[in-house]
């Protein structure tokens, strides 16, 4: 005989079973955020502080009218002064010359970008379009046109062997060549440059940019001007083409004022054997020394960042502190999904707020800067919807949201708000402060490898490789290009997120 077995129905929830979809998880995390009034307040304060400090920074910045600026064909501010031995050319033609030497004429050392070569320029006006091939002491043979374009040719050492250069104009195209023997020619490039129709000026040129030697210490920075004058020698000058002039004329393009401190008029001498010796100063290159009106409009981001760090941290550490994290993980056992939802929500919130704040802050700061004397053409008007302004505005918002994600991830790892906030702020802000004071190589290294590199995205000035420039952190220069700088912060945030994913799965809550 068997005892009747009593079957007990296990408890079943009356609710319809659904998988916890990611959408619901996002909604849960979003609800956790917006129902905490203090966090909404912090978010609002972050936006307001960003705008107000950007505005204060802009109103504190003024500029006095400097000397009139030269604007290149692309609308950028340029340096355009050099010694020019030239004649006119109508229609097609070729100019060939051999650079035999380049030496310092000021006794302060030869700058690495001292240029001696041949040039085709649309007129004698400063800032007019040009194409040039040249020999330099430290960067070999180059072909450059319209200030911002630069192509490297063969490397050369003028002290050992002279360098042949040739420019050919055919139709609307200009072609540059270089050679070591005058027989075998290497083509450097072929360009069609606008504004070079009809009669143009061709000839030999010499430009010697002032190169600055930096003395830097905790007491301050001083820049000492190096060479500003050089002598170049040329021979085997040949010219084919139609010219209205019978011979060569000499002009100092952009001649410095006669009473200026560095006014050394250029000279050109011709020996009976056909050796041309040109002495001159100046440079044909973009000007990178004017203040960056884009970067000056984002000073509030430094302060807004603090609040984003606090929000990102507290969004997870409060759950650990109050024990809510256990409820969260009971409801959604998949911890990685919770982490993903939290990251998405905090990134979206901080990005939206940051974008709003930086867009408003930028627009207001630009207005203030314009009324403080930063006027076009020296400081071109910036549109919010065009680079570099667009890149800086969106990039700053991305920066703010990445910093929040970094804080959130570290918060998961450390489970403690004090340590997390201090670590993230120290990582992002301290390198900047140290870079003002430490020796230059270390300072630049710091701004490459720490999350502070991301502030490069706020730069509006393009640093061209063909211009010697001392990248000084105290004048707002970051060694990395805008996107590469932001990528450093992305790497930090991604690494922290991976670490967080690993720890949150391995540890008990």
């Amino acid at each position: 005989m068997t005892t009747p077995t009593k079957t007990v129905q296990p408890y079943r929830s009356a609710l319809h079973p659904t998988r916890a979809g990611f959408g619901r998880l996002l909604r849960a995390e979003w609800t956790k955020f917006w129902t905490v009034r203090a966090w909404l307040l912090v978010l609002a304060v972050a936006a307001v502080v960003t705008v107000v400090i950007s505005q204060m920074g802009a109103s504190g910045s003024t500029t006095g009218g400097g000397p009139p600026v030269v604007v290149g064909p692309g609308g950028e501010v340029v340096n355009d002064s050099f010694r020019f031995t030239h004649r006119t050319l109508t229609g097609d033609g070729t100019i060939t010359a051999r650079v035999t030497g380049l030496k310092d004429a000021s006794g302060k050392g030869l700058g690495p970008w001292t240029k001696a070569g041949i040039i085709v320029k649309s007129s004698l006006k400063q800032g007019s379009p040009y194409v040039a091939v040249m020999a330099t002491p430290a960067h070999g043979v180059r072909m450059q046109w319209n200030f911002t374009h630069d192509t490297a040719g063969p490397s050369s050492d003028l002290a050992k062997a002279p360098q042949w250069l040739r420019l050919k104009r055919l139709g609307g195209k200009l072609t540059g060549y270089a050679s070591v023997d005058g027989e075998k020619w290497t083509q450097l490039g072929e360009v069609g440059v606008g504004g070079m129709r009809g009669t143009v000026q061709v000839g030999l040129f010499l430009a010697a940019p002032v190169h600055e030697i930096v003395h830097r210490s905790f007491g301050g920075t001083s820049e000492v001007a190096g060479s500003g004058q050089a002598t170049g020698t040329f021979d085997r000058l040949t010219f084919q083409g139609k010219s209205t002039a019978g011979g060569w004329t000499d002009t100092d393009i952009g001649a410095p004022t006669a009473d200026g401190p560095n006014s050394q008029p250029g000279t050109t001498t011709v020996s009976p054997t056909g050796t041309y010796t040109l002495t001159g100063q100046g440079d044909i290159a973009p000007d990178e020394n004017s203040p960056d009106t884009v970067q000056m409009s984002f000073q509030g981001v430094f302060m807004g960042l603090l609040f984003m760090v606090a929000l990102g941290t507290l969004f997870v550490t409060t759950e650990y502190k109050r024990g809510l994290i256990r409820t969260t993980f009971t409801a959604t056992p998949s911890r990685l999904k919770v982490l993903a939802a939290k990251t998405t929500v905090i990134a979206a919130i901080t990005f939206t707020t940051g974008l709003l704040a930086t867009a408003i802050g930028f627009t207001l700061a630009q207005k203030t800067l314009r009324s403080n004397g930063f006027k076009s053409p020296e400081f071109p008007d910036l549109s919010l919807l065009e680079n570099p302004a667009l890149r800086a505005v969106v990039g700053s918002a991305v920066l703010l949201s990445l910093v929040a994600v970094l804080a959130l991830s570290l918060g998961v790892v450390l489970r403690n708000s004090a340590g997390t906030i201090a670590t993230v702020v120290v990582l992002v802000i301290l390198p900047q402060i140290l870079s003002f004071a430490l020796p230059l190589p270390v300072a630049q290294w710091l701004l490459r490898v720490t999350p502070a590199a991301a502030f490069a995205v706020q730069q509006g000035v393009t640093y061209y490789p063909q211009v010697q420039h001392n990248c000084l952190p105290e004048s707002g220069c970051y060694p990395l290009s805008p996107y590469n700088g932001l990528a450093v912060l992305v790497a930090y945030a991604a690494a922290a997120l991976l670490l967080a994913a690993w720890t949150v799965r391995r540890r008990d809550a």
Partner: protein, 256 residues
């Protein structure tokens, strides 16, 4: 009787600080970070920067003490946690039940913190300077300026700890105090560099607590400083003590 009471309060606060593992971690971090960063900064002085000792423009003492800029953040956290954690966990109510004299509680907290931080500060500064002497080919001379920089750096660490304590007393919250404290310490100096106005740069260098306080570390080129060494330390002290008085008043007047 009064003295006995103060001693008891100090003893209680000392026990609280002593028995927290985080206190010792933070103090060890202060010493380690100051020494490590000082050593790193000293070794950054390559021949490319300083070809010969006579042509060297760097202030080697200040360079060796660079680590203070980092470890002061640790001290800020230590100061903020000492009362912020009590608010976070509710211990503050037990504390105030046992010792109703609120000024006395705050003063003993400040005293216990100062004691610990200055001890850690002495170790930190000595090890940073010692390492720099080993690393640098021509060590900086041991003179009055160096003693001023070393002693001043210890005081900076103590004052920043008190700043953390006063902010946390005022805000009754650790995270808020640390965020605000780091903002005052670090963000203001960054702004002072990026603002394109010499007048404002000078003002911020003079009146922001961190640049002013750290001017005590200068041993060279004193004329180039925005504010003199002792006056600068005075600015930082004014912030710390002023906020401590404000925080203490709020502490005295508010419910816990």
């Amino acid at each position: 009787m009064r003295w006995r009471g103060s001693l008891h309060a100090l003893h209680a606060e000392w026990t609280k600080l002593r028995t927290l593992p985080s206190t010792w971690w933070l103090l060890v971090a202060t010493v380690a970070l100051t020494a490590a960063m000082g050593a790193a900064a000293a070794s950054s002085l390559t021949t490319r920067v300083c070809p010969t000792p006579t042509a060297c423009h760097e202030d080697t003492v200040k360079l060796a003490l660079t680590g203070v800029q980092l470890s002061q953040a640790v001290c800020l956290v230590l100061g903020a946690l000492s009362i912020g954690a009590e608010y976070g966990t509710g211990t503050i109510r037990t504390t105030l039940t046992a010792m109703p004299g609120r000024w006395r509680v705050l003063a003993s907290k400040a005293a216990a913190l100062s004691l610990l931080t200055s001890a850690a500060g002495v170790l930190a500064v000595l090890s940073a300077l010692g390492l720099a002497r080993l690393i640098l080919p021509t060590p900086p001379p041991v003179d009055g300026a160096m003693f001023r920089a070393a002693g001043g750096s210890i005081l900076v660490l103590v004052l920043v700890t008190l700043l953390g304590l006063s902010l946390a007393t005022l805000l009754r919250d650790t995270s808020g105090a640390i965020t605000l404290g780091l903002g005052i310490l670090y963000v203001v100096p960054v702004l002072s560099h990026v603002v394109n106005s010499p007048t404002w740069q000078h003002r911020l260098q003079r009146w922001a607590p961190m640049p002013a306080g750290l001017s005590i570390q200068a041993t060279k080129n004193l004329a180039g400083l925005a504010i003199g060494p002792w006056a600068g330390l005075g600015v930082l002290a004014a912030y710390a003590v002023g906020l401590l008085v404000v925080g203490g008043t709020a502490f005295r007047l508010r419910d816990a």
